[in-house]
Amino acid sequence: MRDTLLTFLSTAITGTDFSVTQELPYNGDGAPLFLKNLKRVYVDQDQTSQDPLLDVLNSSGQVVAETVTNTVTVVVDAKVLPSGYTTLVNQIRSARLDPAITGFSQKSTAVSTEYNGAHLVTEFVFNFTKLIVNN
């Protein structure tokens, strides 16, 4: 999923003031990279969870809802919001509709912001859910 999102976002925001980095948003010198590199879009590693949806009495056939979660983060200057910020947010949100993302019955994106000093941290949480059967 991370690779798919990176490919989509790299194409979507080409020609804007923002860029997509292949780097993971690890902590460098005590702070996440995105706090040091403004206007760079960071895509984190996929997180996967499984929740039983339908339990059955026998050893096969249990239906499980598997959710792949990925977090995308971008930081901008909060004092002067970049002119393309709103467009960027919409472009990143639309990544859930990338035709390359197949096999999932539910796709959603949650956007949240918080302030870190003079920085506006915008976080996108993508959730992709599909049903799998334990055979």
């Binding site: 339908l54 339990d55 009495l57 026998n58 050893s59």
Partner: protein
């Protein structure tokens, strides 16, 4: 104490339901009904009740029993609509209901909590009560299923 303990998902310990043809000349094949969510064994005696002038309470006597197995089933295409080459297996659960086929059922209740092999209920009946349903929140077909029993259970 030895509780009946059909550990879900443990092969050889779990509850199983097997169906075969109940005809005088049986159709070939066996259907093992997998993906059961729950099972209820109904054995309800009818009761004849009367009153007497010399009794302060009603008197009752048990008469005949109405027996059935009630379950909920996650639909597997092969099991529900039939597969294979044997006539009985080709019917599937849906065909057994549609064609009003008499079936022999064998319900293994599961091992006991002490690890001893458990009991099996057998009998004859008809598949009925199918009502497959699906929703966007749970996009997997699930159906109730009842085997209405003709005659008595046998416990072995």
């Amino acid at each position: 104490m030895a509780y009946i303990y059909p550990a879900p998902g443990v092969t050889g310990v779990e509850l199983t339901l097997t169906l075969t043809s109940g005809r005088d000349t049986p159709l070939a094949g066996t259907i093992e009904v997998l993906a059961l969510q729950d099972v209820t064994v109904n054995a309800a005696n009818d009761v004849f009740t009367w009153t007497q002038l010399d009794e302060t309470a009603k008197l009752q006597v048990a008469t005949t029993s109405t027996n059935s197995l009630s379950m909920n089933l996650v639909l597997d295409q092969d099991i529900f609509f039939g597969t294979g080459t044997d006539a009985f297996e080709l019917l599937g659960i849906f065909g057994l209901s549609k064609d009003k086929e008499l079936v022999n059922f064998s319900l293994y209740l599961g091992d006991t909590s002490t690890g001893v092999t458990g009991k099996t209920l057998t009998g004859k009946g008809y598949v009925t009560g199918l009502a497959p349903t699906v929703s966007a929140d749970a996009p997997v077909w699930v159906s109730p299923i009842t085997i209405t029993v003709t005659g008595e259970y046998t416990v072995a």
